[in-house]
Structure formats: structure tokens, C-alpha cells
């Protein structure tokens, strides 16, 4: 704790020092360069964002720095149509176009993060300190990325070393004794580039309900270390090596008598060789390995081990990619690789191994000057489930200088995860059992031998086939409109049709009165809506932006049940029941019909000051069926809509110092009952020193 307090004091001393230290040295070079933003995740080639036929957006380093965010979830929840939602394990995942976090692929520099113990990839794991930009591609993207890219892809691009020796030290101190300390050093000379980043984050956590003995979030501390080496062998060949390490330790308190610790250790190495064969032809060969390991234990009052759990996932992926310039405006991109995955986990029937070779091809061309076409497909073979073929086609038509239209149709899929196939878990206190699909036949037989099965509701023979991957067909149609130089408007209508959604059902009754659950393909779900984004930049000092998403996310079977008059409700729990109609069906859980954001960024170059105020809103949503009719309807209890407002103020001085102060969640919104991930108002101070 000591260095952090020092850091905090340091922030204050400098703040006071600065107040007495006017006039400031003002740089007279106000050079604003509007560079075309480029995105690499959408096509796996360097591509102008503005000419892309797909719905995509970029969060720039400038924005990341000016809002003083700490972790990836802080950033993503301010973007239109994205919301972070927590799973029961406390992980913060991202919901995109109304699709759950397990359907969005999260990449760092183009390679996937793993460790979804309950489907969610916890975005709190990712420090934003060394991020250059974040690329968000919406809509099914399995044609390039395979499994998990059913709803979209988020790619985190980290900093590359700049010429010379340079670096940044930063310290942010905020409410709840949260300290974030970072150091980034870059060096580049001639053929070699080196990068080093280390970050430490610690927090006391917080407690939304003081009356209970348990805290909402327990104290934790974590470290992120990222190193990079770039080596240019010659003008045509380069080698990139990077390694990332993340470790977190958190207090784990389950009850007044049970306490322990949970630890996460994660690392990855990424080696990439690139070669330019000719003006038209370049290739990359990449080897990626990552391991995610989570361990937890609980001890009782006598310090005897009560329970422990582990999760240990390994992913190895070699991939070869090549780009070939077929013609002046046509690029062919192809890749092949293989994914090897293993998992060791508590309560698993076996230690599964997945092997999945794949191949993809994409052609990006301008059919005529104003008409761009991207057509691509990927084939994933798999050792444990049906092979998948994922095509995609996208078109963009430039109507005139101010207006363009774009549309895309793609197939996305998500392979059944390890848990859905191999789980074999019996709750020690309550006595229910959850079995993965492939674990069912053996595990049921064993339960029956032990005399624990009362009745079979689903014959075990039904589990001889494979569980199908969840799949989706996504359609996006959009318009980009720039009525004048200072205003841009983007509109996108989307529909995701999802088949074979995996759900749980009761497959047998146990003699102890509890049930055996397993997974199965059942639901047909759709999410559809409209996304609207607008930016207004009247001059170089002000940027105002607003975004809105309208969303309908529904289960088709539920819609049928309402239509057939099979669903009933009561005004209150003790009044007569009445029939519900289609209009009374609210939709899927945890989906808000309306989400909006509004941001103003203001800067005064002369004073080297910038400030911003940002607000996000989400309308009411339901977390569970409170009136026991199995559906979320208008008579259920809802989580009320809410808005969060953040304010940040930054000032830089002496060339290399940056000071930031701000308030997150100004209105101090909390909802102890329903939203454990919002801690309330946070004050912070931040100091950056560049060298």
C-alpha cells in the first residue's frame, strides 16, 4: 500500500505546485491532423474504416486516455449497443446486438483470450494502459474467426514501440482504495523495437449492503506484464514476439464460516513472422499459445480445507495467412491453421482435448469504383462436433460524396464449450446434478447403479448423437451519412437468427427429490434492432456524440406459447390469474429495449486542458421470471432503467506531465439487489509522466 499512498500524495503536491506555477509555457504548434482511421479486424487486412461494408467502430487511444479508464469494461460500456453484464461468477462480459457475452470473440492483437469458466470472458482482466486502439466489428464474423464470433469480434490492439526511447509512468488513485500503477517503456532503433508494460491494480472492493456479513466485491490485486520485441531482418521480413502475463489474487469469502482465496494466472506468447514476397503478395506465419488457470479454495473456521476448485485451459494455435493482390482493387486473403485446446477442471468427467483444423478465404474487391464487395468463407473441422462452414458476403455502395449504403449477411457459430460437454457436478449441499452432454450416458448409468435415480425423463440413448454448435445468420443493413463536414450519422439495422441455442433441462429425477440437469439444443432466438450513431464536431475543440440502440430479443417458442394462449399471470400473487397475449411478452432476460449514450469532449489547446462528460442509459430489463410462468412478461418484476454520468478533466504541463481528475458515476447510482457490478460514485486523481 505504501507506494500507492506516496503516488497519491505526489498527485496532490504536483496539483498544488501547478496552481501556483502560472503562466504556463504554451506550445504554438497547434497542428491537427485528421488521419483516416484504419481497422484490421474486419478483413484481416489494413482497411479504411470509413469504406468498410461492415458495421464496425474504433475506440482510439485519445479517447481511452481522456476518459481515464482502467479496465476494458469501463470503455466498452460507453459504446453504442454494448453493455457489460455480469455472470453469476462475477465476471463482466459484453452483450453485443443483444447477444450474450459468450457469443463475442475477444482478441488481443488478433489472437483470442481464453478462460470462460461460465461462458463469460471477464473484461476486468484487461488493463487499458497499453492499448493503441480497440476495434469492434458487429455481426457474425465466423467467416474469418470461427467459433465464438457469432455476435461479433472485439480486437484489442496494443501499442507498438515508437522511434527512440520513450515511456510513461502513470498512477491513478480512486475511491475504495483502488490504486492503479503503470509503467510503459518503448524503444526503437533501426531494426529493433522493444516494448515493456507493467501494471498493478489493487482495490479494497466494495460493499453495497452493509447489513450483510459478506462484501459485494472482495479485495483483490493483480499484475499485468506485457513485453514485445519487433525485429526487422530486412525490408521484407520481420519478426514479432510478444508475451503477456496476468496474475490476480482475490479474497474469497463464501459465508461467515467459510473463507479462502481465488487466484488467476494467465499467460500467452505470440510469435509472428511476416514476409513481403512482392508488391502483390505478403504472408504471415504465427504461433500462439495461451494458458488460463484459475484456482480457488475455501477453509472452514478451523482452517481445514472445505472445498477447492481449479480450471486450467490451454490453447495452442499455429496459423498461416497470406494476402494476394489479384488486381489493382482486388485482394485475396487466405489462412489455414489448427486450434488445439485442453482443459482440466474440477467436476469434469474427463480431461477433454479439442482439435480443430480450419481454412478460410476472403476476396475483397471494388466491382466498380463506388461498389465494394467482400465475400468470404471459413471451414472448421472439429474432433468433437459437426464441421462448420461459415460464409459471409458484404456490399457497400457509395451513392454520393455524403451518403453510402452497406449491407452484409453472415453465418456465425459457437461450438459447445467444455462445460456443456463434460461437466459432471453434484451440488454437495442441495444434491442436484448437472451433466455435460457427452458425460450423460456414463454418469447416469453410475447414478442408477448407486440407486440415486428415481425416474428417467429423457432416455440416455438420446445423448448418443452430438450436441450441435449454436449457429446464427446475421443480417446488417446500414447507411453512413455526412450531411456536412462537421456532422456524421451512422445507422444500422440488424437481425440475428439463432438456432440450436443450448439450454439446460431436467433429464431425470433423483431419489433425493432433486433433479439431474443436462444441456440440449432447443431454442430458436432472434435479436433485432436499430443502432444509431452521430458525431458533431463544430470545431477542433468540441466533439459531441450520441448513440442509441433499439433492441428486440425474443425466444420464438415463447412467442408461440403466448400466441397459443398458454401463458398466464396474476396482477399480484394473490389475485385471480388471467391469460397473457403476445404483446405482454417482454423478451429475453437481461435485455433492455433502449440503450443510449451521450458524450461531450471539450479541449482548449492553448491551456492544454481537456474535459469530458459522458452519460449512458439503459432502459428497464428483467433478470428473472418473478411470477413463475417461465416467461418474462409485463407483469414480472423489472430492474428499473438507469443512467450513469461520468466526468473527467485533464491537464498537461511541462511537456511531459499529465494530470487528471474526475468523477465516475456522479449521481452515485447503485442497485444493491440487482446490479452488483456498479460500486457507486468514484472520485479519482491520475498522474502521467511521459519521458
Amino acid at each position: 500500500m505504501r507506494p500507492n499512498i506516496l503516488g497519491f500524495i505526489c498527485v496532490f503536491i504536483i496539483a498544488i505546485g501547478n496552481a501556483q506555477n502560472s503562466p504556463l509555457k504554451v506550445r504554438d504548434t497547434i497542428l491537427i491532423q485528421e488521419l483516416e482511421e484504419v481497422i484490421i479486424s474486419a478483413t484481416r487486412t489494413i482497411r479504411q474504416l470509413s469504406s468498410l461494408p461492415l458495421p464496425a467502430q474504433i475506440i482510439s487511444k485519445k479517447e481511452i486516455v481522456s476518459i481515464n479508464s482502467l479496465r476494458l469494461d469501463d470503455l466498452l460500456e460507453e459504446q453504442t449497443g454494448l453493455i457489460t453484464v455480469s455472470d453469476f461468477g462475477g465476471g463482466e462480459g459484453v452483450q453485443m446486438q443483444g447477444l450474450d457475452s459468450q457469443y463475442t470473440l475477444i482478441l488481443i492483437d488478433g489472437v483470442p483470450l481464453v478462460g470462460r469458466s461460465a461462458g463469460t470472458l471477464d473484461l476486468n482482466r484487461v488493463s487499458v494502459g497499453n492499448i493503441k486502439q480497440i476495434e469492434i466489428v458487429k455481426g457474425a464474423s465466423s467467416s474469418l474467426y470461427g467459433s465464438e464470433a457469432l455476435g461479433g469480434v472485439i480486437n484489442i490492439i496494443t501499442d507498438t514501440p515508437k522511434i527512440g526511447l520513450n515511456g510513461t509512468i502513470s498512477q491513478r488513485t480512486s475511491s475504495f482504495n483502488t490504486f492503479d500503477t503503470g509503467l510503459e517503456i518503448g524503444y526503437k532503433k533501426n531494426k529493433i523495437g522493444l516494448g515493456f508494460f507493467v501494471n498493478r491494480l489493487s482495490s479494497d472492493g466494495y460493499d453495497l449492503n452493509e447489513n450483510t456479513s459478506l462484501k459485494t466485491v472482495n479485495p483483490y490485486s493483480n499484475y499485468t506484464i506485457n513485453t514485445k520485441v519487433n525485429y526487422k531482418l530486412n525490408d521484407k521480413t520481420r519478426l514479432d514476439i510478444s508475451a503477456r502475463f496476468f496474475t490476480q489474487n482475490q479474497v474469497y469469502i463464501a459465508s461467515e464460516v467459510l473463507r479462502g482465496e481465488s487466484d488467476i494466472n494467465e499467460w500467452n506468447t505470440h510469435i509472428k513472422a511476416s514476409h513481403v514476397f512482392s508488391d502483390a503478395w505478403n504472408s504471415e506465419l504465427e504461433f500462439y499459445t495461451t494458458r488460463y488457470k484459475a484456482d480457488e479454495f475455501l477453509n472452514d473456521m478451523e482452517d481445514q480445507l472445505f472445498s477447492n476448485g481449479f480450471f486450467n485451459q490451454l490453447l495452442v494455435r499455429p496459423e498461416f495467412r497470406t494476402n494476394y493482390q489479384v488486381s489493382e482493387n482486388g485482394t485475396l486473403t487466405g489462412g489455414l491453421g489448427v486450434t488445439h485446446e485442453t482443459l482440466k477442471r474440477t467436476d469434469f468427467s474427463e480431461s477433454p482435448i479439442f482439435n480443430s483444423p480450419y481454412l478460410y478465404l476472403q476476396y475483397d474487391t471494388d466491382l466498380i469504383k463506388v461498389l465494394n464487395l467482400i465475400i468470404g468463407a471459413r471451414f472448421d473441422s472439429h474432433s468433437k462436433y459437426t464441421s462448420q462452414f461459415s460464409p459471409k458476403v458484404a456490399l457497400r455502395y457509395q451513392l454520393n460524396d455524403n451518403l453510402s449504403a452497406k449491407g452484409s449477411v453472415g453465418y456465425g457459430f459457437k461450438a459447445p464449450d467444455f462445460r456443456q460437454l463434460y461437466f459432471n457436478f453434484t451440488n454437495a449441499t442441495v444434491g442436484y446434478t448437472v451433466l455435460g452432454y457427452n458425460a450423460v450416458p456414463d454418469a447416469l448409468e453410475e447414478l442408477e447403479l448407486q440407486g440415486e435415480i428415481n425416474t428417467f425423463l429423457v432416455p440416455p440413448s438420446e445423448f448418443e448423437d452430438n450436441l450441435n454448435p449454436e449457429s446464427s445468420i446475421a443480417i446488417n443493413i446500414g447507411l453512413d451519412f455526412k450531411p456536412m463536414a462537421t456532422i456524421s450519422i451512422g445507422l444500422n439495422a440488424f437481425r440475428n437468427n439463432i438456432d440450436d441455442l443450448i439450454d439446460t433441462r431436467v433429464i431425470a429425477n433423483k431419489t433425493n427429490g432433486q433433479n439431474v440437469f443436462s444441456y440440449y439444443n432447443v431454442n430458436k432466438v432472434y435479436t433485432q434492432g436499430i443502432e444509431f450513431n452521430t458525431t458533431w464536431k463544430p470545431n477542433n475543440n468540441i466533439k459531441v456524440s450520441g448513440g442509441y440502440q433499439l433492441l428486440y430479443a425474443k425466444d420464438k417458442r415463447a412467442e408461440e406459447a403466448f400466441e397459443n394462449g398458454e401463458v398466464f399471470a396474476r396482477e399480484n400473487p394473490s389475485s385471480p390469474s388471467f391469460q397473457l397475449y403476445k404483446d405482454d411478452y417482454f423478451g429475453l432476460f437481461n435485455r433492455s429495449k433502449h440503450m443510449a449514450n451521450f458524450k461531450i469532449f471539450y479541449s482548449i489547446e492553448k491551456w492544454k486542458v481537456n474535459a469530458n462528460i459522458r452519460g449512458t442509459y439503459r432502459s428497464k430489463y428483467g433478470l428473472f421470471d418473478s411470477n413463475s410462468n417461465n416467461y418474462l412478461d409485463d407483469y414480472d418484476t423489472f430492474v428499473s432503467g438507469y443512467s450513469i454520468w461520468d466526468f473527467a478533466f485533464n491537464k498537461s504541463f511541462y511537456e511531459s506531465f499529465g494530470l487528471g481528475i474526475g468523477v465516475d458515476n456522479i449521481l452515485n447510482f447503485t442497485d444493491e439487489q440487482n446490479i452488483s457490478s456498479i460500486p457507486g460514485r468514484i472520485f479519482y486523481g491520475k498522474l502521467n509522466i511521459h519521458f
Partner: protein, 211 residues
Amino acid sequence: MKTIKLLTLFIILISFTSCSTDNDDSLILAVETDTFLNLHAPQEGGIDPSTGQPLPISGAFTKFDFASGETTTSDTDWDIAFRATSIIINGGVSLETTDEPIRTGDAAAYIATGTMPSIESVDESLFEQDSSNGYVLSNWYTYAGPPSHLITPTAGKIIVIKTREGKYAKIEILSYYKDAPDNPDAFVDEERYYTFNYVYQPNEGDLSFNN
């Protein structure tokens, strides 16, 4: 004109009288619609709150008779009976739990999906009796589990009964808590108090619940 008017009046009067004579002959009784508040259905045993271990369940069922619209302690003159969440009918076989009454009648029942007004008549093909497979009316409620632990009658479930006398009734259970509070709290409100709406068709063989 006058004669015509008088004649009309005469005809109307005649027809009224004849109608009432018809009624007197067949004795059509009005369908009875009523609410029964706080039928107390206690039980002994169950889960021991201090240890969490199940204890043998016992205690008399509270019996109800549709013809009188009252609870009864008679061993024979009852149609339906309650003990905590268990509901039995006077027809079929006993599961022989402690203090469970023997079935002396030929009552039967089923659970229909709908609302009180929408279940307008009886479907005789659906009737079943208590058997070794379990009670016919076992599936009437939803247990919310932690943290609320509420027991609520599932919306859209209407119990249709053939009484021991072969007459028909329909019931909608409204509450399992004393005085049927609007927002029951399982930790505050006393449980095992049934409040239900019912409609009783007193005319033998009449499958309709409308008059």
C-alpha cells in the same frame, strides 16, 4: 288496439307462469360461486429447520365439502382435503402417509390450463384419481426457492373436480398465506392457509359451469 294490448299481456303472463312451472318440475339450482378464505392446512414434521433433515410428515388433512361449502371432520362426507402443500381428493387410493384418510368416495380431478372464466365446462375424459403414482393435484404451485422461498399457486392452473356425489366444481387457488396478502412474505406471513375461488355446479350431470 286495446284488445290486442290486453291479449299480448295475457299471453306474456301465461308464458311466465308456464316457465316457472317447468322450473319447479326439474329443480334447476343456481351455480354457486364463492371464495373460501383461510382454510388452515397444518402439518407436523417435514424439514427440521435446525438440522435441515427431513422428519416424517403427519397430521390430519383439512377436509372440504363442496355441497355445504364448509370444512368438515367427517370421514366420508368430503371431496378434497389439504395438508400443507399436499392436496388429496376423496377418490382412488391412499399413499398411506401418516394420518392420510382412506378414500371412501369416487371423486376425481384434473388440472386444466386457463382462467376461471375460460374453463366453462368439464372434460370428463381428463379425470384421474389419487393413485400409487401420486396425488392428481400435486402440481398446483411454484416454489420460488432462495431467497424468497415463496410458494405461489401457478397462474393459469384451474382444478376441476368431480365430487364424491358425481357433481362438478372448479377451483382456483389464490394464496397459501394467511389472509391472502397482496405481496406475501414467506418469512412474515403465516403459511398453510389456503384461499381459493370456486364454482360449484349443484345440478347432477350438468357439465357446464354457466347457469
